[in-house]
């Protein structure tokens, strides 16, 4: 036998984490602490910012005709007279138990308001995400197969065009194109999923596409670059020297490898979509989170605003967390760092 047991590159240990079990628990532990810390910092700063900016909640609620005494009284009742730190403490205690307070403009619990708007945003996000993946992956595969060729140029130009058109123009274009010309997609008649699921889906399609298109262009561009890079790597050369076909190399090797870095981009895209798209909701007249946020800002509805910012922060941080775990699932280098010796 050959002395290959002692050819070890022991320095590889240095660059990696501890063994499988140790490292995994430690890694996820750190990430969860990071996650909670981020949520605290984000929520505190938004809460603090809303207390500094001009605009008085009590005045907004009671109207310009209320007397100073009435305003003062309202403040005492709702606890607005307490210092910021104390109010934040009260609020975050409630938030942990799921109570985000009551919206002053809607006079309804904030959590109820957010959850009632969630189906629209979740529905659009899910459909848009599917569109992003289903379209950008094949396009990037086609494009990266022969960079610089006609098809690559056509796809790239097309990508730039949809990326460059402002969303509201894109939305209007879509309406004209699909609803007026083809007429099979309903617009403006929103139905809750519990009432009429088919109608819900059909009125989601077009807005989802409008949200998805720029994201498709972005994901495509990123994936294309990543795939071109992966195609030049050593393992592709090895696979070719084993007699593997181009298609197989693309699907079995290039695709998973370029996905490792693309997952982060997709999580960015998704957190963007889940925040609600103000413009698309406005154009298509959908009761989503974007419009709720706009309303909350315009009437200085602080409880609602704080609740929504917390929601956005949670979504973003949790998505990053999921993206990291997904990348670790695909990539054994992030999952198994122990250098075992055969």
């Amino acid at each position: 036998m050959y002395p290959c047991d002692n050819l070890g590159l022991s320095c590889y240990n240095q660059l990696t984490m501890e063994g499988l079990i140790n490292g995994k628990a430690g890694y996820f532990g750190v990430r969860i602490v990071e996650l909670i810390l981020t949520l605290f910092v984000v929520s505190f700063f938004t809460f603090a910012a809303f207390s500094i900016i001009p605009g008085d909640t009590a005045r907004v609620v009671l109207g310009p005709n209320a007397t100073e005494a009435q305003v003062e009284n309202y403040r005492k009742q709702t606890g607005l007279d307490k210092p910021v730190a104390e109010r934040y403490g009260d609020w975050i205690r409630g938030a942990v138990t799921g109570d985000l307070g009551e919206s002053v403009s809607f006079r309804k619990p904030v959590s109820e308001l957010i959850s009632s708007r969630l189906p629209v945003t979740l529905g659009m996000s899910a459909i848009a995400l599917i569109m992003v993946i289903v379209i950008s992956y094949p396009a990037a595969m086609l494009s990266s197969r022969r960079p610089g060729h006609a098809l690559d140029h056509i796809l790239s130009v097309f990508g730039h065009v949809i990326f460059a058109i402002p969303p509201f123009v894109l939305s209007l274009l879509m309406i004209v194109l699909f609803a007026n010309l083809f007429g099979f997609i309903s617009i403006g008649r929103y139905a809750a999923p519990s009432e009429d699921f088919a109608q819900f889906l059909s009125c989601m399609l077009l807005p989802s596409l409008c949200i998805a298109l720029p994201k498709i262009a972005m994901t495509f561009k990123f994936l294309r670059a990543s795939m071109i890079e992966e195609r030049a790597s050593g393992y592709v050369k090895t696979a070719k020297s084993h007699g593997l076909s181009d298609v197989r190399i693309m699907v079995r090797h290039v695709l998973p490898n370029s996905s490792v870095s693309t997952i982060t981009v997709i999580s960015l895209v998704l957190s963007d979509i889940l925040g609600g798209s103000l413009i698309v909701e406005q154009v298509f007249n959908l009761p989503g989170l974007g419009r709720l946020l706009l309303r909350a800002i315009s009437v200085r509805d602080f409880p609602l605003l704080s609740g929504m910012v917390l929601y956005l922060a949670v979504i973003t941080v949790v998505l990053y967390f999921i993206a990291d775990i997904a990348a670790a699932m695909i990539d054994p280098r992030q999952r198994l760092s122990e250098r075992a010796r055969p």
Binding site: M1, C4, G234, T238, G243, S245
Partner: protein
């Protein structure tokens, strides 16, 4: 003897829109006999890799074949259907490449990486695994089942090259093309890979086309040698005749240029006073990489209780295989890494310079050579006027063998050897009394590597600069260093005058390094005719 491969009049070029096409292969013709190991040598850019890639049909898309025949077993494979030609790879022709670190899909286990070769040829699952395990055993793995389940990052570079050889040999191809398979491996690993290839030839009855830039590697390994220069095959002969007879001018020149003669280099070196005070004193040095969030304590110690002295004017060698801690030692001494324990003391008023392995990545691509040479002066707060700075830069430039015209060039406009010279010049402008050279030649071909080593010897001689030369190659250390430190697994296992360490090696690591040197060119005196 029957020819397994005949290449006739092969011409290849890279068409370019602006200028005339760049001719890479010019009417290349050669034969490979059944069962032989034939070497193909030449400097970087001579067209050796392109020749191999043409045979395997793995040329980059921009290349255009202008003519020629490639007969494999009497059949012209250039006229085959694309699918048949593709399946010929792996089936009849196996191939391995230079860099084993990136040549396996990092997301798949070794088993799955190899499995595909058989899967696309519709071999049943059960049989596939058995054949892979069998082949892994053949290439020298003691625990093939274990390796089968591992991921590429969990095994070393040498082991990866074995896996790749297993993949190439899985279907028992008639011809194995090895494109610089050992250039990125250390000398001990190189030796074991060459031994493996030789044994595989016997076991599987393979013919091997071995591509290399290193005459010393080819010498003890190949039956015949072909030499390429500027896209042409300039000589073909049996290895012994080729390398002993100096009737071919080009070979003679290549031999002379890549030769490192200790009797020549060492004699010229300034004398070293070992009784004086050392210029660098390293004591009980411990360093490593920590993985904790709060603690800085090293979990994995890469350096363990390292102690040694470096004296003025000397070239001291630090030798060891990949992963022994040589580079960490260099990084720790020059301050790029913090030691966790121990002391590093420089003699007062002495400057320290460092030159790293890869000259390409050490230079900033958006600045020219002049900027690179002025930057250290500015960063060190030099009080010289711009004119005086220019004077220093010009003198250093001359010392490293570059010309005035190179000052305005950018890294991308320089060759690998020139880039390494710039890196050395950057270190010289501050006139250090000690330079750490961490394998500054390992990414260069044999001729260029020798020229850089000669430059380092010249700097030592003329500037009286002490040098720590880090290498995995005993041949280089023997030619350059009076004193040597042998490292293994983060420790110094042996230290002493090079001649004595060579004569009475005190550790297995040293013996392995010496054995590797013997195999990779120990017969130097007899065959160079010097």
């Amino acid at each position: 003897m029957k020819n397994i491969l005949e290449v006739r009049g092969l011409s290849l070029s890279f068409p370019s829109k602006r200028s005339s096409a760049v001719k890479v292969l010019d009417d290349v013709s050669f034969n490979i006999r059944d069962g032989e190991i034939i070497g193909l040598i030449g400097n970087s850019g001579s067209g050796k890799s392109m020749t191999a890639l043409s045979v395997a049909d793995l040329l980059p898309e921009t290349a255009s074949v202008e003519g020629g025949q490639i007969l494999f077993d009497g059949e012209d494979i250039t006229k085959m259907k694309p699918k048949d030609r593709r399946l010929l790879l792996g089936d009849k022709i196996g191939m391995i490449f230079q860099d084993p670190m990136t040549a396996l899909d990092p997301l798949q286990t070794i088993g799955r990486n190899l499995d595909e070769v058989l899967q696309i040829r519709n071999i049943p699952v059960r049989e596939r695994k058995d054949r892979i395990i069998e082949m892994l055993k053949t290439v020298g793995f003691i625990d093939p089942e274990g390796v089968y389940k591992r991921y590429p990052h969990q095994i070393s570079g040498g082991q990866r090259q074995r896996v790749l050889i297993a993949g190439a040999a899985l279907l028992h191809p008639r011809l194995l093309i090895a494109d610089e398979p050992t250039s990125s491996l250390d000398s001990v690993t190189t030796m074991s890979i060459l031994k493996l290839l030789k044994s595989l030839r016997e076991k599987l009855n393979m013919t091997i086309l071995f591509i290399s830039h290193d005459l010393y590697v080819v010498r003890n390994f190949c039956d015949r040698v072909m030499v390429m220069k500027d896209g042409k095959i300039v000589a073909t002969d049996n290895t012994e005749e080729m390398l002993t007879g100096t009737n071919n001018a080009f070979i003679a020149e290549m031999l002379a240029k890549s030769r490192l003669d200790p009797s020549e280099l060492l004699l010229d070196m300034p004398s070293v006073d070992y009784s004086g005070s050392p210029i660098l004193n390293v004591k009980d040095l411990v360093a490593g990489y920590s993985s904790g969030i709060l603690s800085r304590k090293a979990r994995t110690k890469t350096l363990k209780e390292i102690s040694f002295d470096v004296y003025p004017n000397e070239i001291i060698g630090v030798i060891g295989s990949s992963g022994c801690g040589k580079t960490t030692l260099a990084k720790t001494i020059c301050g790029l890494m913090k030691p966790t324990d121990g002391e590093i003391r420089m003699k007062e008023g002495m400057g320290l310079g460092v030159v790293f392995q890869d000259p390409g990545s050490c230079l900033n691509p958006s600045h020219n050579v002049r900027w690179h040479l002025r930057e250290p002066l500015i960063a060190s707060g030099s009080k010289l006027s711009p004119e005086e700075q220019d004077k220093v830069i010009r003198r250093v430039l001359e010392d490293v063998g570059l010309e005035q015209k190179h000052l305005g060039r950018y890294p991308s406009q320089l060759s690998g050897g020139q880039r390494q010279r710039v890196a050395i010049a950057m270190c010289l402008v501050l006139e250090p009394s000690l330079i750490i050279a961490d394998e500054p030649f390992s990414s260069l071909d044999a001729v260029l590597a020798a020229s850089i080593l000669k430059l380092i010897a010249k700097i030592n001689r003329e500037r009286k600069t002490a040098i720590i030369l880090i290498s995995h190659n005993m041949r280089i250390v023997r030619a350059m260093c009076k004193r040597v430190i042998v490292m293994s697994k983060g420790r110094i296992v042996e230290e002493g005058l090079t001649g004595e360490v060579m004569k009475n090696p005190g550790s297995d690591v040293t013996r392995e390094l010496i054995e590797a040197e013997k195999m990779l060119g120990g017969a130097r005196q007899s065959s160079t005719g010097a």
